[in-house]
Amino acid sequence: MKKHHVSTTINGDEVDFLCETSETLLDVLRDHLHLTGAKEGCGTGDCGACSVTLDGVLVCSCLVLGVEAEGKEIETIEGMADGDELHPLQRKFVEHIALQCGICTPGLLISARSLLEKNPNPTEEEVRFGLAGNLCRCTGYQNIIEAVMDAAQEMRGA
């Protein structure tokens, strides 16, 4: 099968890859580039575990084709911390026990960051609806909501 050559920027690095027409951005990230932080929970855009941003827009990478990434800037969970320094959301997730098994955590963090970029001062209800595209089966969401509210407060203060 003939492959396409795609040039992108991922977490600030220039990255080239080859992919089949039918391969998703998630396939490319995980299988070709070994960026396995984004997870495949459903492959149909229902669980949000594969969330990344594409030119700053939150997407399910399982619903984007690899070839669509041409010339785009992609941000994944691997680029969220600044070296050893965790992003406030990551730190608050740890502090609030907002994760158990952790499989949904990368997607939730990417979604939460996008949510706070659009709305730095959300109500609890806005956070609940803002993260309704990310399934978590372990936590019952409560600690996630608390972590995001706490991170939002800290980020507003900073």
Binding site: E40, L86, C101, E124, R137, G140, Q142
Partner: protein, 774 residues
């Protein structure tokens, strides 16, 4: 539960003492940073050089005889390296073993992972391929020709029990019935649990209420699909990385199914992306090994979500009839349950596990529980968090409310009046030891949730739950390192980070060193003795006991080293605050030796320090909980909105309290999802109609209200830290609590699950004339 405790089991009595680490929240959980940075390695994240992609061909029919399989075209496709089907797996005789909380029969297990004579459910594996890419593997599946003879199927449990129902197994004679039936049926077995004289009990009653309930099958819903990577080497060894709750069980199942020596199979459990009971069984592992053997290359297999729904999990759908008799004064005299449970395509539902939970929350002299294990054309059911218990509680706790209303007794009071306590005779055998059930009911009564005002179409529900704690084989090794740190190697899979944290807390407490100096590391199957799977809420309780035993063993070794250095007897040395000290001033003047000093000198004074535990833990403490929920019912749409939720549970001792609360949240929300929306839907052909998260509707953040939690601590007397299992109890009450709240809000009794908008609306419409007449 369900499995008999070993008479040679280990119990370590509870000892009340001042605690420094256990019972307080550690600063950071050891797994958390890797998980928030995307670095934690789950099974699907692991790759080997030269690996192939494996895919499974699945039956599109609910029930069909497999007349022939022709893979010749698929084998010819460029990039295809191996194709396997039933002929590549050895047949197995009838042979029973425990797999997690459910007993399995290897004759059936091999037929579950790959159909032999018949395909028994939509999604049943029929063949598998390994190819150089996923797209080639998928193309190869389409080239495999399977000739089916489609047979009549049966999906519903009540239908499957009818005498003229299509039979899944033509030779299946119901077990546990006297006289033995002559004709085969889908009822694989009948199980009876009884206490006292049920008929006499009902005669003593002034009021008898009997109600029928139906619940649909539901999936564990872990976000991580099953994934396995396997390599079979020319030397005849297999190595597997997989998503599992119990790598030793997976190893045992692989060895049986593939007729390999156990020593030849090494299984490494990857970080687990959720299991909830659904990851105790082999699905992909043996297929990946056989494909690797045939192709000579590593093979990685990952299920799609569609495959997870159609071919793994689910819990039983049920038909349940509950009958309770009570005196005018509010004393329950008799209770009966008939439990008809789907087992899926082979026998083995969760009945042996959940039957003991039926009435154990209450002190009832006369009890009869009859369970029917019923085969039907669905995937083989597996355990799902307190397997089978939420459905019985749905029935029992709803009937309790009906009785309370009829007798004009407060709903909490009627439960308190009949509550089980220390000394209560259970209907499954033992008398209860010290338990905290009444404490949870009293806490509910005193909770400010009970004072919250309710508006129109709003109602409050109460329900309770009980689950036992499993013990079983548990091994651990504690290595005391030369720099004064300690590494605990544990083998009961840490399903979500809490267990390794709790183990580290326990080791730190025992050794008297800081939490940060301890690291708990999960073993593969080659680095420890056998460990039972993480099931039955045993993780922290049983693994924690092994951690205690290994720590105390290492302390003895360290005291021996100190005795040699000081040239005194072992019994003249004691361990206190992380130091070996002379037992008394008579022993001599010696500076205490720290753990680090001893570890450094141990090599010369007898050898490296390690402590071991290879035990079978018994005496797990039963756990009880009480839930409160407020709902608002939308009369226009039938939607049920949760307004407030409170969980109160006896944890025995919460080692890591904030994490225990997090477990309460998670389990209750699974129960809420089960109550409100989750169900397997099949079309008229027996094909699953909703095998995806869009149509199988699990709770999202906006569905859930704020949840209050309250931990009650009545120590388990058979555990050194008083620990009871906590993970399963809180999924039990929500179904009933929500049903009771709906009644309180709008006066309709929901006895069919799920309580989704169409069903609630239909019930409202049905009740409308009556409501209008009031």
């Amino acid at each position: 539960m369900g499995m008999k405790p070993s008479p040679f089991g280990t119990q370590i009595p509870y000892e009340e003492k001042e605690l420094k680490v256990v019972g307080s929240n550690p600063e950071a959980r050891p797994d958390a940073v890797d998980k928030v940075t995307g670095k934690a390695r789950y099974a699907a994240d692991i790759n080997l050089p030269g690996q192939l992609t494996g895919k499974v061909l699945r039956s599109p029919h609910a029930h069909a005889r497999i007349k022939s399989i022709d893979a010749s075209e698929a084998e010819k496709l460029k990039g295809v390296k191996a194709v396997i089907c039933r002929d590549d797996l050895p047949d197995m005789p009838v042979m029973h073993a425990a797999a997690g909380e459910i007993m399995v029969n290897f004759r059936d297990v091999t037929r579950t992972i790959m159909a032999r004579e018949k395909a028994l459910f939509d999604g049943h594996p029929v063949a598998a391929v390994a190819a150089t890419s996923e797209s080639i593997a998928k193309a190869a599946l389409k080239l495999i020709k399977v000739e089916y003879e489609v047979l009549p199927h049966v999906i519903d449990v009540v239908d499957a029990m009818k005498p003229d129902a299509p039979l899944l197994h033509e030779d299946q004679i119901t077990k546990g019935v006297e006289p033995t039936p002559e004709k085969p049926s889908n009822i694989a077995a009948q199980m009876v649990s009884k206490l006292g004289d049920i008929e006499e009990g009902f005669e003593q009653a002034d009021l008898v209420v009997e109600r029928e309930f139906n619940t649909k099958a539901a999936h564990q819903g872990y976000i991580e699909p099953h994934a396995s990577l396997a390599i079979y080497t020319e030397g005849g060894n297999a190595e597997v990385w997989t998503s599992t709750q119990g790598h030793f069980l997976i190893r045992a199942q692989i060895a049986e199914i593939l007729k390999m020596d156990v020593s030849r199979v090494k299984v490494t459990p990857a970080e687990l992306g959720g299991g909830f009971g659904g990851k105790n069984m082999i699905y992909l592992e043996p297929l990946a090994i056989v494909l690797s053997k045939k192709s000579g290359r590593p093979v990685k297999m990952v299920m799609t979500r569609d495959e997870v729904f159609r071919a793994s999990g689910p819990t039983s759908g049920t038909n349940i009839i509950i009958k309770i008799g009570i005196t005018k004064g509010g004393k329950i005299t008799a209770a009966q349950a008939i439990l008809n449970y789907q087992s899926g395509c082979f026998p083995g539902s969760s009945l042996p596990l959940c039957t003991p939970t039926a009435f154990t929350r209450y002190d009832i002299a006369n009890v009869l529980v009859i369970g029917n294990d019923v085969t039907c054309n669905r995937p083989k059911v597996t355990a799902y968090r307190s397997p089978g218990a939420p459905m019985i509680a749905f029935g029992v706790e709803t009937v309790m409310d009906e009785i309370a209303e009829e007798l004009n007794i407060d709903r909490l009071e009627i439960r308190l009046m009949n509550a089980a306590k220390e000394g209560t005779q259970t209907h499954f055998g033992p008398k209860l030891g010290p338990i905290g059930f009444i404490e949870t009911l009293e806490a509910a009564k005193a909770h400010n949730h009970m004072k919250e005002k309710l508006g129109p179409n709003q109602g409050r529900g109460i329900a309770t739950g009980f689950w036992n704690t499993l013990g079983m084989e548990t091994s651990a090794t504690l290595n005391v390192n030369q720099d004064g740190t300690a590494s605990l190697i544990y083998g009961t899979v840490d399903v979500a980070g809490g267990m390794r944290t709790a183990y580290s807390q326990i080791v730190a407490e025992e050794l008297g060193i800081p939490f940060k100096k301890v690291r708990a590391i999960q073993s593969d199957t080659s680095s420890l003795g056998f460990n039972f799977t993480t099931a039955g809420s045993r993780g922290t309780a049983a693994g924690g006991m092994a951690a205690v035993k290994a720590s105390r063993d290492a302390i003895t070794r360290m005291c021996e080293v100190a005795a040699r250095i000081w040239e005194v007897e072992l019994d003249q040395v004691v361990w206190e605050d992380g130091h070996a000290r002379p037992a008394s001033s008579n022993v001599g003047e010696f500076e205490p030796l720290s753990l680090a000093e001893i570890a450094m000198k141990a090599g010369f004074y007898g050898g490296t320090i390690a402590g071991h535990a290879e035990i079978n833990v018994t005496g797990g403490g039963p756990g009880f909980g009480t839930h409160l929920v407020d709902v608002e019912v939308d009369r226009e749409t039938g939607a049920v909105k949760l307004l407030r939720y409170t969980i109160i549970q006896d944890a025995g001792k919460a080692v890591f309290p904030e994490y225990v609360k997090a477990q309460f949240h998670g389990a209750a929300v699974q129960g809420i999802g089960l109550a409100l929306n989750e169900e397997y839907i099949y079309d008229e052909n027996g094909v699953m109609a909703n095998p995806g998260f869009l149509d199988y509707r699990m709770p999202v953040a906006s569905d859930i209200p704020v949840i209050d939690t309250q931990i009650v601590e009545v120590p388990n007397p058979n555990h050194p830290y008083g620990i009871r299992g906590v993970g399963e109890v809180p999924i039990i009450p929500p179904l009933a609590a929500i049903s009771n709240a709906i009644y309180d809000a709008v006066g309709i009794r929901m006895r069919d699950h799920p309580m989704s908008p169409p069903k609630v609306l239909a019930a409202l419409d049905e009740a409308a004339p009556a409501t209008a007449a009031e």
